[in-house]
Every structure is written in C-alpha cells, then in structure tokens.
Symmetry: C2
Subunit: 117 residues, 2 copies
C-alpha cells in the first residue's frame, strides 16, 4: 500500500510540469531520443535531461540502456495507475450524486402521487 502511495506521488509529481507533459505527449506518438525531445522545447539538453530523470524515477518513461542514443519510451502502466486512482474517486462521487438524484425523485414522486397514477 505504501509503495502504491509513493508511486502515485511520483507519477502525479511527474505530471505536474508543462515540459514533462510535453515530453509525455511527444512519446505517446513514438519513442524519441533526448535530442529529438529537446528540439521543440527551446531548452538545453541538461535541462531536458533533468526532466527525463524525474519521468524515469516515476516509471512513466523508460530508457534503453544499450542503444547508442538511448531512446525514451512511454510506459503505459504508470499512466493507467494514475487514471485508475482518479476514476475510482470520480465513480464514488458519481454514485453519491446518483443516490441524491434518486432521493430527490422519490421525494418528488411522493409529492405528485407517483406521476398521477
């Protein structure tokens, strides 16, 4: 459980920066090298590398150890985990409002004598 919390901390921290989101958006279209990622970002290579390290630590991306240009690769599983956490709480929220809706309908049915029946 603790581990999941730490992973969610790292994933959401990684997502909380526009440059890192731009990198993820680029990698969603295909693997890329640091040079390819840096080109549209108007940022120095060390600057991009710093962001890549945050993304790597979060598990959102991985980098090939052996290839000469070490292309970056988006790891779908970590995005899944972040979405699942949010979805779970949206679902609870929705259920609460569905119940409220049903309750209000009951009250209204009571008032109108169940739709004039």
């Amino acid at each position: 459980m603790q581990l999941t919390e730490e992973r969610l901390d790292a994933t959401f921290t990684a997502l909380a920066d526009p440059t890192r989101r731009a990198i993820i958006a680029r990698l969603a279209k295909g693997d890329a090298t640091v040079n390819e990622l840096a080109a549209p970002l108007e940022m120095t290579l060390p600057g991009v590398s710093k962001h890549l390290k945050v993304l790597e630590r979060s598990g959102l991306i991985s980098r090939s150890r052996r290839a000469q240009f070490r292309p970056c690769h988006l790891e779908r599983a970590e995005l899944d985990e972040a979405v699942e956490w949010i979805e779970e709480h949206r679902r609870l929220w929705d259920e609460r409002f569905d119940k409220l809706d049903a309750h209000l309908r009951d009250i209204q049915d009571g008032r109108t004598g169940k739709g004039d029946a």
Copy 2:
C-alpha cells in the same frame, strides 16, 4: 492554453501527496468539515488546513464561505480535466500500437499468403 497548463500543474501537484489524496477520497463520499477531515489523518488542524489550501488553489475542492463550519466540497470538473489529459495521451499511445499490430498482421499475411486462401 497557458491557463490550462497552469491548471494542470496545480491539479497534478495537488494530487501528488498521500494526505491530499486521502482528503479527496474522503470528500468523494460527501462534503466534510476540517475537523471531520483531520480526525482520521493523525495530523494537526493547521497541517490539514495547509493541504486544504493547496487543494483549494488547484480548484479540486471548494469551501463554503458562509457556513459556520465551512464544509469542503470536491469539484468534479478539475478531476475531469486531469483525466482527460491523461486519457488523450493514452489514446495516442494505443493508436500507435493498434497501427503496429495491423502492420505486423500485414507482414504475417504476406508471409502466409493471407491465411492459406
């Protein structure tokens, strides 16, 4: 566009902390006062208030200005925006792999003479 980026920064930053996620999880089940939120967290009220301020700034929660106990309320729209961002890039990622699948099938069909037909 800039505004959206800033809102996503704030939303993901707010989500990147286990106490704040616990508060969101609690509020998904219903509005609550600061005292109610603090009770299960083993945290001082000022500590909880600090987290609530981060959540309020992100727009993930709102607080009634007039009620005596200022109950906290989860704002669904901000969660939606965070999920939509992630979903968009998961979709791009999936499309890429669907294309790769189709390409591999084409190659295989070419090899086997389109399934022995």
